[in-house]
Subunit: 428 residues, 2 copies
């Protein structure tokens, strides 16, 4: 019989327990598929006494994840603790230093330290696999790194934060304001301890930066992601978008242009009847475009015990089979360091603001847009009772900086009653 | 520098030329990703003099694909000729016998001889990779074999024949009858030399049988696929389905039940606003359901030079990286030989027929259904000028064999003017 692949699992939250359950339930299947038994030898978590609904008595217990990572009887260190500093980073480094491969679901860690960790892994002849870090159960890292390896990737897009998508979907379905749905999501435990990781677009930005690196062969550059959260999206925006045939999604887009790497994660309007527009709740979707394959769209659950554990196990099975693709799909030393380019490709924009109800107000706004070279496709002043008149404008295709110029001129005028919300309209 | 991976390519049609173009265009990228140069050393096709729009002068030319397969300077034999007997089979066997890995786009070959070929490959320590054989550019074989390897797969579904989907979409969009669109597709070169491979569901059935084998760890059993083509779908069916919020798709479904392996490829009604319902033209979609991942949906181009060549190159890159997953995801000798189960899970059905315009005709049909235990959800007799009255019936959930019983009773009556068309309604 072949040697077993021996795992040390650090972190026994939802995902960690999901992994334990799969390994116990599917032992025979996993061995048939990979040619060797997959065994858990040791686990680590903060609280050893907690009942996690599954027996852990067969595994050695380490209170310190670094000690777990260093164990001689561990082949693969499975890091499911999270956090981009502290124990997760220390233990990952310790695992690599002592010759283990690493499987992780930790997007923050890789978004911040991916390049250094990949170089460390490479020097040790090991790899870091992170299918579970991006888009939950969807095998997107594998598709990009391996399945589509024959392509020059031209663009990657995606909805990759289930919590934001839940909030936006729920606002629309229930007609509830942002604050109320945010609180609801919080009660349901859908939000990270720091909610800004979700609603500020940071978590999704982490994921996008990892996909970019693989897609374009560039060093992970999370700081280069233009981030905009969903906190300012109102029920009014959602309803107005719906009335024009759009939905609002927190959408990531990355592409490598002659000017550098463009990465943005921001709320956008997408056609309601498009695959992206139809995504509900926690479902994720990633769109990959390549010079040969044209467009591939992958959809699946973005989080949850089973789906995320499935992704972890995909990586574990690869390692059991002896497949060690480089962390970001090619040697880390060869990844390019390209400049950050601001995302300036022309697109139509949705603009919502409100004006003081006085003669000439609308003219000033229209002039501000016209002077900046922004042409108006549709403009609508909705009914109002107060002294502030809500205005919705849809522009023709324009560059973001022209729109910023127009917005600056609006602000400088004396007719604005609220700070404008500007959302890009993506028609893919 | 690492040793190059040396390819011999047999078949220089659309896909073969697509592969040549990628290897020439992306040499540096492929080497960066796989760690070694990928080189074409020899090619083979019927006509050496034909201008294929790309220079082949750097490659040795073999008129006999078997001779190409046996060359000492070839590491990987790339079979892009097609056909399940003859040169494709002979050359694949010759390649395996002389110690080459094989990459193929040939679903017919594997549907008919997959088990024997996989065993031959295994005995030689080699593999057959066939990403391009199923769903064009979508990395579905890789997702199923590797990315979702931690799952017990519970069901696989898909629209996997672009030509059928083109015909059905075009009938609806242009309001044209089947025969006319069939002829149009023929003129456009969309149909196989034997059109029944497409419209009879055989090609899609081949693909489904390969997915089943990987998904359930069973021997490829193409003969066990219940096949039904789209030849009897009328514009009337498409319009009636549309009026009820459905589209008609040639849909494959495979699942392993306690009774055995169910595999069917047949025209079905799916909700118009579902991902499957929205597929247009040559786009393919595969839905994979697993015990951990829940549901993953993959969409992409089902054919064409670039997408299919992309899939071939995904396999080639795996081999360049030294990744050799077993042909059907686990050792061929261990694949189970399970009985074929008829697909009998209850579903609502759409039924179209026409009745002789005489008193009591409708009552006889209703009685035939009722006697077989089939309950009617909706029934509609449409306007007619002739002596035949078109009737559309939608049943409540029923088993196929109950429906067959009812149809047999209808046939035995004296009121039927045409043979009924019965289509399953799938609500996933």
């Amino acid at each position: 019989m072949s040697q077993p692949l021996r795992l040390g699992i650090a972190g026994l939250g939802t995902v960690g327990i999901g992994v334990v359950k799969i390994i116990r339930r599917q032992a025979a299947l996993l061995e048939a598929r990979t040619g060797r038994p997959i065994e858990i030898v040791a686990v680590s978590a903060r609280d050893a006494s907690k009942d996690r609904g599954v027996s852990l008595s067969g595994y050695a217990w380490e209170t310190d994840p670094v000690a777990l990572a260093k164990r001689d009887d561990v082949d693969v260190f499975v890091e499911l603790m999270g956090g981009h500093e502290g124990p997760a980073k220390d233990a990952t480094e310790a695992a690599l230093a002592t010759g283990k491969d690493v499987v992780t679901a930790n997007k923050a860690l890789l978004a911040h330290h991916g390049q250094a960790l990949a170089e460390t892994a490479e020097a040790a002849g090991k790899v870091i696999r992170f299918e579970a870090a991006v888009a939950g159960g969807i095998p997107v890292i594998k598709s990009l790194t391996e399945g589509l390896a024959g392509n020059e990737i031209t663009r990657v897009m995606g909805v990759m934060n289930g919590t934001c998508n839940y909030i936006l979907t729920r606002m629309q379905d229930a007609g509830l304001p942002y604050d109320e749905v945010f609180e609801e999501a919080n009660q349901l435990g859908y939000l990270e301890a720091d909610p800004n990781l979700d609603v500020g677009g940071i978590d999704a930005g982490h994921k996008l930066s990892l996909l970019s690196s693989i897609a374009f062969g560039t060093k992970v550059n999370f700081d280069g992601v233009e981030l905009e959260g969903i906190q300012r999206i109102s029920i009014e925006d959602i309803n107005q978008a719906a009335s024009m045939g759009f939905k609002i999604k927190l959408l990531g887009v990355a592409q490598l242009t002659g000017r550098g790497l463009e990465q943005r994660m921001s709320p956008c309007l997408v056609p309601a009847d498009s695959p992206l527009g139809q995504l509900k709740g926690g479902t994720n979707m990633v769109v990959i475009e390549g010079d040969a394959v044209e467009q591939v769209v992958l959809r699946g659950p973005g989080a949850g015990e089973g789906p995320t554990a499935s992704a972890v196990m995909g990586d574990v099975c690869d390692l059991a089979r002896g497949f060690r693709v480089a962390t970001f799909g090619q040697p880390a030393a060869g990844l390019k360091d390209v400049p950050t380019a601001s995302s300036n490709s022309p697109a139509p924009y949705y603009l919502r603001t409100s004006l003081l109800d006085r003669p000439g107000a609308m003219a000033k706004i229209a002039t501000a847009l016209g002077d900046a070279g922004v042409s108006i496709d549709r403009m609508r002043q909705t009914q109002h009772d107060s002294s502030e008149a809500p205005v919705i404008i849809v522009t023709h295709k324009t560059q973001r900086r022209q729109l910023e110029e127009a917005i600056a001129a609006m602000r400088a005028s004396d007719v604005m009653a609220s700070e404008p919300v500007a959302l890009r309209i993506e028609t893919v």
